[in-house]
Symmetry: C2
Subunit: 550 residues, 2 copies
């Protein structure tokens, strides 16, 4: 097989044009970069320009039995970026397929290709004065809308559930055939408006898996609401977090909170404000409780910060705001922000930055605003995300432990050698369960010499994702090896305690179904029936690997 | 094979007990009854008591290559009830598997078996003083919660989408193996709280299809809201319906209307109030425009009646009510009902019924309420459904054209020979599209000599189901044959115009995927891989049949 590879590459080059296939060591190496320490070197990188080209490539790959791994843009930093599970894969990057095919204002959806980025879609809507918002993540502006949705990523608006808001997919199968989901004919009027279609609903098969390559998708857009408020509650006492989470569940179940709520701990918040205070380590590899407390005081932050959005008509927002207030204000400072206050805040921030060397003025402003300059500086970057406008500031937290500077533009932590790994697990949305998760993870962080960093994101009235961030100094071999050990122990212990992975990395993907051998067997059987040579991303999310018995 | 059948039946009898298998002609005939004119006679009817028994039966069926058709309760009247697509099937009815396994109040879900009925679940919640509502349909109290959800049925509350509110299924496959959806281990804490699970989401495969037999499911329940209002808008001029539909779309997209909205035409409303006025036919087989108008006047109804619910906190309901008012009140009489007013109404109704022979009093009441006694009588039966309490009055409309009396209890239109067929198609939620659908269907009704009866149900801010009711006199051979011809022409013409079927009958199921040969091929390949002998419901929703080229 090995010696047939150049022949296959030649054929693929004939499909996409030689400019769109990379085989040189440097280029292959550049596609083996992530903020994690995992490293898989691909055999070539291909950039098809159309869905028809994708279909032809898949057929060639099947002919030569070369596994292909598809990424829309490949910005899933901390999970493995554009790497396959094994060396030697053919990496397909769909970024050239970036047409916005349709925006239907009346029915509030878009039809796009996988290369369309968050920024591109947002820019398009704004440039055409279309009063619809595309929910976006707080990660890079250059991430793919479809890629993120298929990985089941989330944003901040009521349309936070990106997979849940896809409707109507075009998929290339391993045999090169095209399939439209939904069971309708080509003239179907509701391919992008009715989720379940006629007959079985199969779109879920193409998320977190390897059953096909999505080349086009409908995505529902949020009509610009009449009114919007973000809210922030700064939890004074970390022992209150379980009670706060229970309150949030009740508000969500009662449909007061319709968008998701992010709860970040102090370390995660610090990572958004500053770079790592190595000078405060005092000989250890992570910050002591006292140092952390002192830093919180300096930055004017609390052990946990809870933030969410309220969307609706003016009267709805007013009603919800009132209920949120009575639910959360007992746990710490609660503040709301709307467009008007946001304008005031930006002006204040500009003034403060200009006069930041005036210590008296700074003191007065710290007192008056209840915040630090560093904290206030984050807000102008997070507020637009609540309204569907992506930015690249927030994801700069990935540079937390980098010794080099954190860029404000052209942010690319993988390229810049920043160290971050994600472990994302699902918990029932109760304080009891999230508390238990914290109790499992925190000691493992300290055991391996790391700062405990965590975000809980409400992803339905019944579930939260525990987004566990491992910040490490990538250039430091000891840290990298400890980070790897920490990841492995966390992954094992959380799964053993019943916390399923919400989304997984290339380092755990082939083990993710270990606890569900019947599920894996069913997936393998179906996979073998439509991809008998196991060409598309073999082993991804455990599919196309022999199942394990538990 | 034929002669091996008794042997198979004997083996199955040994599994379930001879009391739970029916093979006599009468019993088989009783399971070939529907309100439609379709008739498929099964080979036997089996009532397994446990999921393990289901698994053993499936294995025996595979051994003898006998197709099995599973129904939870089989009350899908007008679509085919408990019939297979062909004669000679083994019918499995899961009604004995009726355990309510768990109700989790904190996380608002239940775990139930397929035999659990709408009434049983509602009774259980009420008896245990659990402040959660199970959304129910307006059909029989004896319908299965899971069966309806897998067919993608709907109710009235914000949890109207029954399939969308399933979470965590246990399924028996054709090889007799059990599979839990969600990709988690048995100790997973979030099987019933996190919809997508880890890895691919596969629950959609088991709805409107034949990939397995669901033997257990989690279902999300609605926490009793602080406040509830139903609203009714009586559309004066039928030409306004498109504008009303556009208004409803905007209210739904703006998240003012979160539950679905039902829009019924005059004939459908009459069917809920009275039995067919054969005496007004005037030699025709359907009512003339003038007669219909006169009937509307007599019954005090309008060409279209729009109804929906508003759920939330007191302040939310107040805010929404105000917005609904300004959106809809221009189109006709708009009224709201809450628990207090509902109590008043019931008392008034009781008084009126007692004095219905007093014509002066009746006139005053007609004037004061803006309604007829017949119309008011419907309300006490519909209002509880908005709050998750099923009843059997409404489905009595199926007796509209029956010559015999319409029962008020123990309603079973299939048993009683009532004539009703459903054709349910999906339309984009725009007045333009629903108008086009009406324009296609109405003349076909008249051509075949039937009254045009239609309900539009908003099933998302972007789609409506056009529920087209064919009421016919079943005992009348001419009507039955015209009804069949009407159904066929409607099914063909609507699909040809791009209106996919939302849910289908045994008469169209094997054609439903005709327009999507690639989709059907993919489904067939997967089906063959996990059910190589095509044992489970072969051909259901077009799966397990050779695909057609269009």
């Amino acid at each position: 097989m090995e010696n047939l590879f150049p022949e296959a590459i030649k054929k693929i080059g004939a499909v996409v044009g030689d400019d769109h296939i990379l085989t040189r060591t440097n280029d292959r190496e550049a596609h083996s970069r992530d903020t994690s320490m995992w490293h898989r070197v691909c055999a070539a990188v291909v950039y098809p320009g159309t869905a028809a080209e994708v279909a032809r490539i898949v057929k060639i790959a099947a002919e030569y039995k070369i596994p292909i791994w598809t990424y829309s843009k490949g910005k899933n930093w901390g999970y493995g970026a554009t790497m396959g599970y094994r060396d030697g894969a053919l990496i397909l990057i769909l970024e050239r397929m970036n047409r916005i095919i349709e925006v239907n204002e009346e029915l509030a959806y878009a039809v796009i290709e996988p290369g369309v980025t968050q920024k591109q879609l947002d820019d398009y809507l704004k440039a055409n004065n279309i009063k619809l918002w595309a929910d976006c993540t707080d990660s890079t502006t250059e991430g793919s809308v479809i890629g993120n949705a298929l990985e089941r990523g989330f944003g901040y608006t009521p349309y936070w559930d990106h997979f849940g808001h896809l409707c109507g997919l075009e998929v290339v199968l391993a045999n090169g055939e095209f399939v439209r989901t939904g069971g309708g004919a080509e003239n179907s009027l509701t391919w992008h408006t009715h989720k379940w279609g006629s007959g079985p609903y199969i779109e879920g098969l193409f998320s977190q898996s390897n059953f096909g390559i999505v080349t086009k998708a409908g995505i529902w857009l949020l009509p610009e609401p009449e009114s919007f408020n973000s809210f922030t509650c700064e939890i004074k006492d970390e022992r209150d977090l379980p009670a706060v989470i229970d309150t949030i569940r009740r508000l969500a179940l009662d449909d007061v909170l319709e968008s998701n709520v992010h709860m970040i701990n102090d370390v995660m918040f610090m990572a958004q404000m500053i770079q790592y205070p190595y000078d405060l380590l005092d000989g250890k590899t992570y910050l002591s409780e006292d140092t952390r407390a002192a830093l919180r005081k300096k930055l004017k932050i609390r052990p946990w910060t809870v933030t969410g959005g309220i969307y609706g008509t003016r009267s709805q927002v007013r009603a919800c705001r009132h209920i949120v207030k009575s639910g959360l204000s007992g746990y710490g400072r609660l503040s709301f922000l709307d467009d008007r206050m946001f304008g005031v805040m930006k002006a204040l921030l500009k003034f403060w930055k200009k006069h930041q060397n005036n210590s008296l003025l700074s003191s007065v402003l710290r007192w008056a605003t209840g915040g630090s300059l560093e904290k206030l500086e984050v807000i102008p970057h997070i507020y637009p995300i609540f309204k569907g406008t992506p930015g690249e500031f927030i994801v700069g937290f990935a540079y937390f432990k980098s010794r080099g500077p954190r860029p404000r533009t052209n942010v690319d932590p993988a390229r810049d050698g920043a160290g971050l790994i994600w472990l994302a697990v699902i918990s029932p949305l109760t304080g009891r369960h999230t508390g238990e998760l914290e109790k499992i993870c925190k000691p493992i962080f300290y055991k391996h010499g790391f700062d405990w960093s965590c975000t809980f994101v409400m992803v339905s009235p019944r579930s939260a994702v525990g987004l566990i961030e491992i910040f490490y100094e990538k250039a430091n071999a000891d840290e990298a090896s400890r980070a790897q050990a920490l990841y492995n122990e966390l992954a094992e212990k959380t799964v053993a305690a019943g916390f399923q992975q919400y989304r997984t990395s290339i380092a755990f993907g082939d083990r993710i179904l270990n606890g569900a051998p019947e599920f894996q067997r069913l997936m393998n059987t179906m996979k073998a029936s439509i991809d008998p040579d196991n060409i598309i991303a073999p082993g991804r999310y455990g599919i196309g690997l022999p199942e394990q018995q538990v």
